[in-house]
């Protein structure tokens, strides 16, 4: 048995070691030990200075209370315009009465200093406590005034009713919403059983 092993050429052992090393490294990389970053994202606004993956952003007011949370699988910040762009952002907003409002879209854009958030692509604003959901293409939100608005066609669903209009506004701290322009409301009625 020992003569047979002795006759195997050293090159064979070297190859075996290299293969073993390759397998170990592959396993090591695969388990997330060392993540090779994705390609540097190209962005129409220019070269980003940083990007975050699996991001959770929370904004606090002067009293240290969280008033806005943003989740996104990928955030990209571009210094040229100081804008942060988000992929499939999920926004969670707390109004002054601590009611929760949820907003989402296919993409998001955070203006400098977070003064405005724009959600684009099947944008939605949801008021769970009021049981209404606003669907539109582009939704803007101004955290400073708690004003969310859409300048395009919007449909407000408050089951079983739904109402559409050409523009939508909501003032979340006042619990007020408005639709304007060719407003069409659909309100089911249940007959009295008497």
């Amino acid at each position: 048995m020992r003569q047979r092993l002795a006759r195997i050429p050293p090159k064979f052992w070297l190859l075996l070691i290299l293969l073993a090393l390759g397998v170990v490294l592959a396993l090591f990389f695969d388990r997330g030990g060392v993540r090779i970053p994705g390609p540097v994202p190209e962005d129409p606004a220019g070269e980003p200075d940083y990007f975050l993956e699996g991001a959770n952003l929370t904004r606090f007011n002067e009293q240290g209370e969280a008033y806005q949370r943003l989740q996104s699988p990928r955030l990209v910040h571009t210094p040229v315009d100081d804008v942060t762009r988000a992929k499939t952002p999920r926004l969670r907003i707390y109004d002054e009465d601590e009611r929760v409002w949820l907003a989402r879209g296919e993409s998001g854009r955070l203006a400098p200093n977070g003064t405005q958030v724009t959600l684009s692509g099947q944008a939605e604003l949801e008021a769970p406590e009021e049981n209404w959901l606003l669907e539109t293409e582009v939704l803007h939100y101004l955290p400073g005034s708690g004003h969310a608005y859409s300048q395009g066609e919007a449909t407000l669903r408050q089951p079983p009713q739904h109402i559409r209009g050409e523009r939508f506004d909501a003032w979340i701290n006042e619990g007020r919403a408005r639709l304007t322009g060719k407003v069409r409301g659909f309100h089911p009625v249940k007959e009295s059983s008497s």
């Binding site: 079983p160 007020r176 408005r178 304007t180 009625v189 249940k190 007959e191």
Partner: protein, 145 residues
Amino acid sequence: LEGDASAPIEISADRLELDDKAGTAIYTGDVDMQQGSMKLTGARVEIQRNADGQVSRVTATGDRAYIEQKPSPEDPLAKGWGQTIVYHAAERRVELIDQAELHRGEDVFNGAYVEYQLDRRVVEARAEAEGTQRQRVRMTLTPEQ
């Protein structure tokens, strides 16, 4: 008409204001509401809903608000006017308030307040109504030929 009662209410207007805290939904600007054969128009229409989210009451105001409904295929339209019109959806009852006027076929009813049961076609007219001046009741009843 049959089916009116369960038909959905469809409204067109220039604007809708929702106030979650007050629990109101107010349409303004050339408001036109339809439910089956019933039609209601006014400058302002407020919708109130019950706990299930169904429309329970519709209040229209205007100068004057107007309502019409076809009692049955053979009957002429019933028409009503008032500074305020309140439609109780579940009870199918309409209140015409202040400069109230109802035309039901050839019959005409005027007063401060006129109440009309849409399905039973019962009319009640009064000279007084809350928040309005006294307005004499006048009825013009046309005997059937």
